[in-house]
Amino acid sequence: MEFRSYASPGNSQANTSLLYRWHIDLPLLAGITTLACASLLILYSSGGQDLNLIYRQILRFLMAFVIMFVMAQIAPHHIQRWSPWLYGIGLALLLVVLLAGEIGKGAQRWLDLGLFRFQPSEMMKVAVPMMIAWYFTEQVLPPRTSRIAVATLMIVAPVFLIFKQPDLGTAILVGSAGVFVLLFAGLYWRWVILVGISISGMAPILWNYLHDYQKQRVLTFLNPENDPLGAGYHIIQSKIAIGSGGIYGKGWLNGTQSQLDFLPERSTDFIFAAFAEEFGFIGVVLLMSLYLFIVLRGLYIAAMAQDTFSRLLAGSLTMTFFIYVFVNIGMVTGLLPVVGLPLPLISFGGTSVVTLLAGFGLLMGIHTHRKLLPA
């Protein structure tokens, strides 16, 4: 019964034998590569046709692909073993960053390692779901209440540290990565609803803990026209860019909102608006389909995984990726308040590409290290 589903990868083994031996999942690779190409295309336009920018992005992608490839080679049970260590080191580094920030007076998110800057919070996007998945591996699922409480603490600690940096966007992602493990582990829906209600009840209290600029973002989200030249400017210009794109778009390199600088952050957080302006509704539906395809493939891999750790980790990584996309597009289209999150795999820069592809490497590894029965 359990092994029935293993038949299908076995069928395609002949075709994908080489890629399979290298632990590469072709559908995921195809989706990610297409997104990377779309990223270079829109970046060339929004970056003012600056080839230097494109070279840097290509370099970043290449590095990330190498990391993805390396991650894919590691069998899930090794990952599982390393999980507590990785989580512990990550938490320690977050503390270091926070203390360094206290000393340096001001926001601090990264450690300078000489060669490159390292953001411990990025690492936690992977380390937190790994830790929670590890914690639930030998448990009977759905987990018991005490276990859930411990897991919640494991999530809240790094999220709090990241939130203090302050980096609301990453805190949300790290938090949801952990929560998705809980949800995949079978957390009762009634719990989910209860937590949802209590969080909304606590919203006024949480409000006081927000930084002024974060409060401003929420207020602006509620009424962007209130401050059209200040905080509301981003969202107004973004909506104009998207709306004026229409069905077919203004055409590549022809987006007036982005080309004439009206659209702020047009190569980073608001790149989706630049894309929507130039490629129109058709373009964004294709883009959304591509994202959905990757997410569905990720969930399929999770469903096909053979052990609890793999399932939980694969499911959480995939859903975190989706949340990433949803929060960014939600904010750019005015559905959600402005949170500083890039559009995954499209936006320029950031360590996020590396983290994301490392995550996809893990997914590929989970899928390709299964012990398959011969057909």
């Binding site: 998207i242 229409g246 004439l260 859903m319 989706f322």
Partner: protein
Amino acid sequence: MRVQITIKDHIREGQLFTNRAVAFVILCTALVLVIISRLAYLQIISHEHFTTLSQNNRLNVLPIEPIRGLIYDRNGVVLAQNVPIYNLKITPEQVSDLPTTLNKLAELVEITPQDLERFQKLRKQNRSFKALPLRYRLTDQEVAKFAVNRHRFPGVDIEAELSRHYPLGDLVAHSVGYVGRIDESELQRVDQANYDGTSHIGKTGVERYYEDILHGQVGHQEVEINAAGRILRVVNKNAPIPGQNLHLSIDARLQKIAQDAFADNNGALVAINANNGAVLTLTSLPTFDANLFVNGIDAKTYRELRDSEDHPLINRALYGQYPPGSTIKPFLGLAGLEHSVNKGGHVFCPGYFSLEGDSHRYRDWKKEGHGIVDLDKAIVESCDVYFYDLAVSLGVDRIATFLKQFGFGARTGIDIYGESTGLIPSREWKEKERKAPWYLGETVNIGIGQGYTLVTPLQLTLAVATLANRGLRINPRLVSGIQDPLSREMQLIAPTLAGNVDVVNPDNWQQIVRAMTRVVHFYKGTAKGISANLQYQIAGKTGTAQVFGLKQDEEYKEKDVQKKLRDHALFIAFAPADHPQIAVAAIVENGGHGGSVAAPIIRKIMDAYLLKEGNLASEETVN
């Protein structure tokens, strides 16, 4: 070990997980649909709305100021032109730190406290996206310095602009006038759309009267701008229609001669072509440099001009009202002839005049008297007693009616604003305005152009021209032609008639003109001083207007009286006497005697006009 050891049920766990995965597939798909419907709302349903907003972002319609028409004198000398100047402008909205920017700019170009004050004032009045001038007329050096450093100053720009310039400075300031920055009330008066790109408007003189013709039609350009407001390219352009050029009948050379002839005296002189009313010279002294007003006069200079006792800003030729003095006599003489009063009669002049039953003596200027005087002698020698007698015989109302036919007491309708009406008193006027009855003694005074009677130099000129034309009264005009700057086609302005003084006997004209000719050419004439070497005949009349009332026993001694209280010297004349070409009136304030002070000035004008320009040959005339 734990009490509760459970064996993991892999099948059940697998099902649970699959259920969750399916739930998330549904959730993800649903959220993607939410996003897609949001995008459909933005990109399909609200597409038009956002397209408009995007266009408004991108495109800006900017007005293009039409080039103001030029003003020339009768010989093509430029009186008003447009010269390029470079102004430094700041768009406050685009400057993040205004005080720092201003400080840094001050290192490159000179910025006075007045510049800053005006800029701050403009900031309060204008919206922050509008570019406001900080400095006008940058020097070439300052332009170069700023151009090199421009990248350091977002929101600051140099704007080349055409600025009005009056090459002759003060010479024609009272006729051409000047332009200045448009103020609130003027903006209400004009078609605001047409003045969208215009900063200046005619304030006085021809510049104001012909504002509509000089201004032209505003053009527009649709430009693409970026978020910083910089113009990237012009998308569409609708060129402005330049204003029309004006050709004045003013002769700058004559104007200069007149101004020089006045020396340091204040006064006014108006010379017109007797045949068509074209104004040749319109002098009002002292005058001022019209260029001062173009880009905002500073408060101190303005105060000095405004508060000066000499009133340089007042156009005396139109606005100044003076007692005509003896220059009124030819007109009264004609009235006497017309009404057959004292016709051919003689009056004995003992040096004073008294009304019957009154001991008050109205003095003649000649203490010992003129003896027996007829009309001719009364005009030639300017006998006061003759005209005292004539005025009493005519009566105030007949005098008023007759003088008004010559245009006295009403605006002439010249093509610049700011005329006074002057005043021709009558019984009715006195009862209405002064609430008092008319006294006979007042009639005596108006016989020699004193009392209530007031005229403007322009009225005098037109009246003497009417005499020259034997009753044809022409309208004065400064502008003789309007020229399209593109096709160079000139539209001439035809002379027009204001009216006609009807006389019973045309010979009466001849009598008056003959007497006026003898004023200059007869050895006893009051203006005989200017007759030396005259190549043509001048018909004229001197006048001396009292500024300062003398008491009964006092005697007027020029040297004893303060300059300010001395008599005004007047002279009116036309020439040549037999076929008049030019008519002139001059008043020299506190100048003394008309014959010795005002007449020589007019002689110079006439010589210059008739001899040097060969205008003795007849010109276009009114029919």
